[in-house]
């Protein structure tokens, strides 16, 4: 179980719905470990600012996460979390292991768009 404030994807249907119904999606697939927790917290912090992106997590040890783990973009990935960025249902970027706020923002800005400040 992931103790985060992000929306959890519990099964393949949740995943399909998330990527088909939203244009810009970030999904963090991990455990409650030291490399994963910082990335969840970064996503939680960015949820408000990046209102045009939907943020989700999925437990790595949930068998249903094979929908993410089996994606070709994970070839060579050997560090949690696996983080995926989907645009219109297609993976546009994926990273392995811990990422900094700057790294996550850089991907969100380049693959989706820079948030418009109110």
């Amino acid at each position: 179980m992931l103790y985060t404030n992000l929306k959890h994807l519990e099964n393949a249907e949740d995943f399909k719905k998330a990527v088909s119904e939203n244009e810009n999606v970030m999904i963090i697939c991990g455990r409650m470990g030291p490399m994963c927790i910082p990335v969840y917290e970064i996503a939680e912090e960015l949820e408000k600012e990046y209102s045009h992106v939907r943020f989700f997590d999925m437990e790595f040890d949930n068998p249903a996460s094979s929908v993410l783990r089996s994606l070709p973009e994970t070839n060579g990935f050997m560090g949690l979390p696996f983080t995926f960025y989907f645009k219109n249902g297609k993976v546009v970027k994926a990273t392995s292991s811990i990422q900094s706020m700057e790294q996550v923002k850089a991907i969100l800005n380049s693959e989706f768009s820079v948030p418009v400040k109110a």
Binding site: M32, P38, E41, G76, M78, G79
Partner: protein, 321 residues
Amino acid sequence: MDTGNHYDTIVIGGGPAGLTAGIYLSRARVRTLILNEGVAGGQMVLTHEIANYPGVETISGYQLSAIMKKQAISFGCTIKSNISVRSVDLAGEIKKIELQDGSAYTSHTVVLAPGGRPRTLGVPGEEDLRGKGISYCATCDGDFFTGKDIIVVGGGNSALEEAVSLTKYAKKVTVVHQFDHFQAFEYAVREAEENPAISFLMETTIDSFEGKEKMESVLLRNLRNGEITRFKTDGAFIFIGYVPNTEFLRGIVQMNSSGEIIVDEQMETNLKGVYAAGDSIVKKYRQVTTAVGDGTIAALAASACINEMKSKKKQTAFGYN
């Protein structure tokens, strides 16, 4: 000055030292802001299980961090995480901290608790292969190396304990260490030496990591004869200690040659009203409990300093000297 950004105390760092300072200061009705570059809990969230925190039988570092953060917030402390400090001006009576996003905060006192981070080797290939063969967490990534040959870099307790733990997954673990002896405790050395899946390369350092999509090999340098050899491996776990996050304080507060902040028994630095606590100060033992102790002292001292300032101001206002 934007008074909305002015606090009695600003705490830089949200690990156990910073959060404890936040709890004590806020509870004492001191208007407190914690500016935290990473996630609340700092290095503590890296600990899978804490079994020696008095009063708590066992708890994960993440849970203990979450409780401390909740406590601090419940007393009125403001916490801003994932920020990046651009500059600090701590010399005057009003301390000023500027963030990379352009915002600025001021305060009467500051508690520096920036903590530390895992030391990296800084050799070619290390950054590119992070998550593709290089890891700093055996608990997180160990199972990706099931049936594989890996190396563990380091010679302290963490390196040897994690090497033993990684034999649950890896076929063969080679410990690479720069010295001819280990810094780990005797029990950890014995346990590693007695494990048939572990072998050792002493007086050896890593020159570079090689591989494109994943780790393929490392270039090892034998420190006795300078010989460089290519060593095939599927992964590397690096446990070579921690470095204090004090680069932004260089030339501002007094530090030792290792970049650790020098404090007195009140946790005060060489600057009046500037305190420091936790893993970033000069001390021998770095534990959650010692960080909590440092944070408590720093908070009480900062609180006393603010009370002194306020009472001086009152005396001046009433014409006392």
